[in-house]
Amino acid sequence: MTDLAQDLLSSFVVAEPQLNGSRNLGVVHLRKEALDRFEAQGFPTTRDEEWKYTNLKPVLKHDYRILLKGDDAVSFADIKSYLLSDLDTYKLVFINGKYSSWLSDSTHQEFDVCTFAAALNKYPDIIAEYLGKGAPKGETFVDLNTAFADDGAFIRVKANQTVDKPIEILYLTTNENGPAFSQVRNLIIAEQNAEVQLLERHQNIGDQPSFTNFVSEVFAARDARVSYYKVQNDSDEATLVDNTHVVQKEQSNVHVGTYTFGGKLVRNNLHFYSAGERAESHMDGITIIGDGQTVDHHTLVDHQEPNCYSRELYKGIYLGKSHGIFNGKVMVRQKAQKTNAFQQNDNILLSDKAKVDTKPQLEIFADDVRCSHGCTIGQLDRNALFYLRSRGIPKREAEGLMTYAFAADALEYVKIPQLEKRLNRVIAEKLGINLEFAL
């Protein structure tokens, strides 16, 4: 057992009585069970098949503080650049895992855009119905989070309602006092025929290492529509394990876009459970990383019911000494006839030192399905490069333009124009190209 795991176990004894929800026996029970499972499993190593290519050892060795305090010194000016400034949004801002009401803009009017802490304390029925029902027990990071997490975003959109503006969720770590280990949790519920758009970001604004173990459970009821965008552009000191689990009912439509441009190590465990007929699941993403950065996308679509559609498109551009991992699993259960599942992972290596491991994994138990998958790893097309250069566009610009065009393909489903513009700008910046291309 690692020192960090030991620290976590002993901290739990101190922390548990003070956590939000500690008077709810169901929650207390859930936490203790989850902690027991974590104690039995500990942190994964590269000997675990699911962690074969991602070594956590270097990021687990820091002396993390586990019980974090909020930070009142953070002002709007400090966080402005992490928000979409040209768009009116609801905002939920957390600093070291604690809700910051003065930086946030929440609502309880027609729908709940508030905190997981509030849900734990005020909505025992909802907690009993949903908490832990999306993220599977037995996944060690999920269990660890279940044991500790007592704040984060709580969003509930009642039947037939559309949230009038996007919701921005910002998790900040300020760690002047040393490395910080934070565990936050989202509970997102879109009831029948409800609609919501979410933007989420984790950001380390200190200069010390941070480790965020994050769980997000999303429930989309019949005909609900959820767009969920994750912008991952954290500092070189930040590690993120993002466990996002989406449960979909009949004819719901959920899109999760993951845009990764930074962080020391990012592991995305993104799971879709297609548990209603004619549900549509979209997941796509762009990864552009460089020296010393690792991004690991582990996705699962679990088709449990007939006539569902899933689409998965991940684009990766790797510079410097970076490492990308893509593991995309598509499960089609016996009952899930007429499933239509598409998966594609395309990568460009722009450096000799960059590395990509990509692995599609299909497990199909139904006999009448359409599943396609593909992955490519390559360099830029020489033919196209010559074409651009013969028109007078210098080599560097031509390469940038082509790389941009390669990536931008995965932005097609972004529904918030301001976000699309911003992503375009970040991509252009990362690739060192003229923004004029990105219009």
Binding site: D381, A384, F386, R389, R391, G392
Partner: protein, 249 residues
């Protein structure tokens, strides 16, 4: 304008150009004809600076300057344009952004100021009209989903926008129906001045009914084996390439 002297080139170990001599002056139209595999496309790629070919001998002189050490983009800045036989699809980049970038990079390469947005727009409007293109072309992704004819028209549109001194049209007629051919050829003819020159590379005589060459050359097995006036194209159309092959066997 351009003087090609004893040009030899190969790709990997295969000799393709075996000593090409060609001189093109301002105001002239030259046609290069020849059977498949004779080296026509290689010649155009080598002039445009494609790095997949290794030039093993000879020289290319453009307006008194040796081209050999110049990158493709530098050649473009000097006024060389190649219309591709197979234009490349670039998803995600619109025609108008692409051409704007190409024009302004070329101007930058020549030490000139970028073109004013208004001027650019007016020029785009004028040239799309010239080629009977719908303006919606401009906002489409470059060549993506274009028909064969649209791609070729788009090549000539780029030529019209870039106003090169020397335009090399590589099999521009392939994939064009008769109406598209008329429009494309008409565009090329309208772009002619006393100061620019065109080299038309083609397998068939058909295009030369519309773009009338001053000189016709026959390329066979990496060499120009025959040169003449427009009548040579007609002779080839009538007799095919077999007599050329027989003469040079």
């Amino acid at each position: 304008m351009i003087k090609i002297n004893n040009l030899q080139a190969r790709v990997e170990d295969k000799e393709i150009l075996k000593g090409i001599n060609l001189e093109v002056n301002p105001g002239e139209i030259h046609a290069i004809m020849g059977p498949n595999g004779s080296g026509k496309s290689t010649l155009s790629s080598v002039i445009a600076g494609r790095e997949d070919y290794e030039v093993t001998g000879g020289s290319i002189d453009f307006e008194g300057e040796d081209l050999m050490d110049l990158d493709p983009e530098e050649r473009a800045h000097k006024g060389i344009f190649l219309s591709f036989q197979y234009p490349v699809e670039i998803p995600g980049v619109t025609v108008s952004n692409f051409i704007k970038t190409a024009i302004n990079e070329s101007r930058k390469g020549r030490g000139e100021e970028p073109m004013k947005a208004r001027e650019m727009l007016a020029k785009m409007r004028e040239k799309t009209a010239l080629l009977e293109m719908d303006k919606s072309y401009l906002s489409r992704s470059l060549n993506e989903g274009f028909s064969g004819g649209e791609k070729k028209r788009n090549e000539i549109f780029q030529m019209a926008m870039l106003e090169p001194k020397l335009a090399i049209l590589d099999e521009t007629d392939s994939g064009l129906d008769i109406d598209a051919l008329r429009i494309v050829a008409g565009g090329v003819n309208k772009l002619r001045t006393a100061d620019n020159a065109v080299v038309v590379i083609t397998h068939y005589q058909r295009l030369l009914d519309y773009i009338k060459p001053d000189f016709v050359h026959v390329l066979f097995n990496g060499k120009i084996v025959k040169s003449g006036g427009p009548e040579l194209a007609h002779e080839l159309e009538e007799k095919g390439y077999d007599w050329i092959k027989a003469e040079n066997a």
